[in-house]
Amino acid sequence: MKRFSGILSLLLVLWLGLAIAQTPAGTSIQNQASATYIDSANQPRSTTSNLVVTVVQQVYSFTITPNSTHSGSPATEANLTAPGQIRTALPGAPVYLAYTVSNTGNGSDAILLSPAQGIADNFDLTGVSIVRDINCNGQPDSGEPTVTSVTLAQGASACIVVQGTVPASATNGQIANINLAGTSQGNSSVTDNDNWSRVIANTAATLTLTKSASPTSSVTPGQNITYTLSGSNTGGSAAGAVTSVVTLGTARNGILITDVIPSGLTYVANSLSGSAGAGTVTLIYSTNGGTSWTSTQPSSGVNAVGMLIEGSGNFFPQGASYTLSFQAQVPAGIASGTSYSNFATLKFDANSNGNANDPGETVTSNTTNNTVGAAYSVLVGPYQNPLGSASGTYTAGGYTVARSGDTQSITSAYSGSAVIFRHTLRNTGNTTDSFNLSYLGQPAGWSCQLLADDLSTPISGAVGPVAAGADYSFALQCTISASYTTTSAVSLTLKATSTGDASKADTTADSVSQVVSGYSVDVAHNTDGTAGGEPVNPANNTRPGYNPPVNPGGSAQFPFEVKNTGVNPDTYNLTATLPASWTAAFYPDTNCDGNMDTPQPASVSSTGLITANQIRCFIAVVNVPTSATPVDVTPGTSDNVQFTATSTTLGSVSDTILGAVDVNAVRTFSFTPNRSGTVTSPGTIVYTHTLSNTGNQPATVSIPAYTSTYGWTYQYSTDGGTTWTSSVSGLSLPIGATANLQVRVIVPAGEPINRSEAATLTATATYASGTASASVIDTTTIVGGDLRLSKSAVSYVGSTATVRSGTAAQAFPGDEIVYTVVAENIGTGNLTKVVVSDPLPAYTTFVSVSATTTIPGGPVLYSTNGTTWSTTAPTNLPAGSVIYVGVDTNGDTNITAADTMPPSGKITLTLRVQVQ
């Protein structure tokens, strides 16, 4: 605590600066180390250490000033070389000794105060007490309490006045020493005992000088401090002038009060004023710290002020008072914790010798202390322009951002993309600070976040610490939803708020003038076998001149190309709108040549991801059902198919092309099967046929009357034999329908045996688009006997029971065909040695044979050569063979003339074969 008083104020500044930075007791210091590395798999990794926690203990420390200086240690009255302050007073008058107590520890503490009277002096003060000098004016005032201790928070200080009375018995020049000793309550070993002051009893003139500052302690940057110096002659005589106390052009005589303005403060022009109860007052100024003075206020650079009370002899009577005040400004932007201490000096003559060199003639006031509190302030603005006076442009996120004043704007943005506004803030406060960043104004569907200046690291929580005066850059990134568009500007407000003082904040504006859709698609017919080169939309939505004709069951191809005409990558679903029961499939056309790739790729239902301006080609294959009726459409005018690509991101984005598919008219018609039969003369035979419309239009069938060469009668029935007509007309046959047609041949008596007629019967189907005809040949042979043979056939699907064709008109390899041959005695007498034979048809394989009979008495015998007979049917039959059956009515296991077939007797032969 031993310092040269000349550097006291400087040291005080430093000491207080450190005191404020002390870590408060109870704070836990936490620390965790971290590492990043690249592992053996070439992957970047990170890890952290354990958390180390250390608690800060309280340190007790305080100071009492002013300090006395001593020639040894510890400080005692015996080794006192200079008291910290000297006061003079009239015997019997009160005296005030001003002290400042500061808590320089890191927690709250009570400082116990006790005055100690000296013993190596002339007298003791009486009635000594300690007063808490709340307004720090150096003297007790009404309402200020008497104390024995002061409790101070960390970094706080208090003004103290030790008051006492000079005993009336004291004589002029006698002295009293008194010390204000302090002890920390928290740690009694922490003391401050070098605070000796001296009181000199004085019957001569005594001028007091007290100094006060307003505000008393904490100040803010830019604030004015009003200093007031005042005092009076409390001595026993009039005070006198000092000869040549100051030179103002010429040497002047009088009482001089001077005050050197603390370094760093700026004198406020015209703020100096003063008055005195006697003499002539001259306000004086110095620009060199009091070395020389002028009565004319300099325009700048004033660093000391004062007042000359001019007079001669002992002109300043007992009780006369004076006052002097001025203002000094704390600089803007000064660091928090900076401290300004100030005292004033007064010179007068008390013993009429014309100088101020005698004890008590030079008075030093109490010292005022003002500390700059933390002032928080922030400005945020466009990138690299925190003060908001920006211009020019920069590029971020693919957009050009224009800066103007405190606003940044993007002219036009696309939906589905992200806009980035970069910003810079400045800590315009006087201490290190951190800042909370926030934003508002983003429309629904926008997703915004704050990023560090690398434009990738998200910011969470407050940013900083940012040193006073330093800048911090960051960015606001907003992703615009796919569906958001607007023609009016979107305004975002970005705000930076001090964490030190939440009332200190600044905003800056970002705006996007319009948002247009970033999604668009164009589907075009691929007419040129290459990607692109098609007419512009919507002309490319139709393809005049292209209307592929297809048969029912066939397909038509439409090559087309899908172009992403937006700015964002997108995938499109492919759909088709078609006539009922038509289908379509889409195939990638990798080389865009408009032809189906080989091998044919798998069909797709979407395009896959297409980047902006990229084209992909596809082929739509339209499948026309077998039941399709004829269509004749004009491409571009009456299109009947549509293909649409729809964005999977934004369903409202799509494009459709139109196409035309013609369906051919098909006129196919069948009339089957050919029939043959035998008939007696006279006699009648009926053949059954099938009419089928296999075209894709309804048909009307007609069959003209058949004129027999032999005068036989041919009749037709379409109702199952109920009515018979000589010709057929107007028989309606819908698409795919079949109709039964019976043909009756009536043979008159007297026809020769073996006369045969093959009648070609032609049916004509009339369609809307033309006609088709088909014929059957019915062959009728006159037989003499009374045995009638008839043969029919049915084909089956494979070896199943499913009928392929009731007339065996159609059979595929592997299908089975059953032939049924019926032999009937239609005469009136017995027939003998009746053998029914049937050849195995070419290109067929024998499956089985069986025979039944209505003839009583005899078993059916089988033969493969007509001479040897067996009761069991053969199980195989070589190609080209013939199967024979007969009925053995006499039981000799042979078919001879002895075997008879009575009238109405029937033998039925059933032969099953398989088509090779």
Partner: protein, 166 residues
């Protein structure tokens, strides 16, 4: 695309469960210095509690726990804000014939450099805004780091720095 991202996410979280290849152990001790006849001796005491002005030494031991070398190992000791870095106390790491100098950050670990660190400050002088480069004092440092090109299998390194409790 979505599927790919998902698969990566699963992989990453799966690996995160695996033991860290670098084991970090941070300890703190209080350094008590005594001056006997001009000879300064130091004793180390546990730093469970400290007082303003105390000297605290932070020791970071990093060990490669795997059987394979690790590359680009960056070891960071933060300087707690309640303390200030003691200039010159972070020592270079001697590895064979190379010396790895510590790098320092004053901006919370965003940037690192060799002392003296410089900071750009905008000042208003006579109405003109000027950008000045000022030196950053060691007491403003926020982080120290060492960048090891490689940490051999099972290798351990010990890093130290000292701070003074504010």
């Amino acid at each position: 695309m979505t599927i790919g991202v998902l698969v990566l996410g699963v992989l990453a979280s799966g690996l995160a469960l695996a033991a860290d290849a670098v084991k970090l152990t941070l300890t703190s001790v209080r350094v008590v210095q005594e001056n006997k006849n001009g000879q300064v001796s130091e004793t180390f005491q546990p730093a469970l509690s400290v007082r303003p002005g105390d000297l605290v030494e932070w020791r970071l031991e990093a060990e490669n726990t795997t059987e394979r070398p690790l590359r680009q190992v960056v070891l960071v000791i933060p300087i707690p804000k309640e303390t200030r870095y003691l200039e010159g106390s972070a020592l270079a790491l001697e590895r064979g014939n190379t010396r790895l100098l510590p790098l320092f950050s004053y901006d919370g670990g965003q940037t690192y450099g060799l002392p003296p660190l410089k900071r750009k400050v905008k000042v208003n002088e006579n109405g003109k805004e000027l950008e000045k480069e000022v030196e950053v004092k060691p007491e403003e440092y926020t982080h120290a780091r060492w960048v090891l090109p490689e940490l051999a299998p099972k290798e351990k390194v010990l890093l130290k720095l000292r701070t003074i409790v504010r």
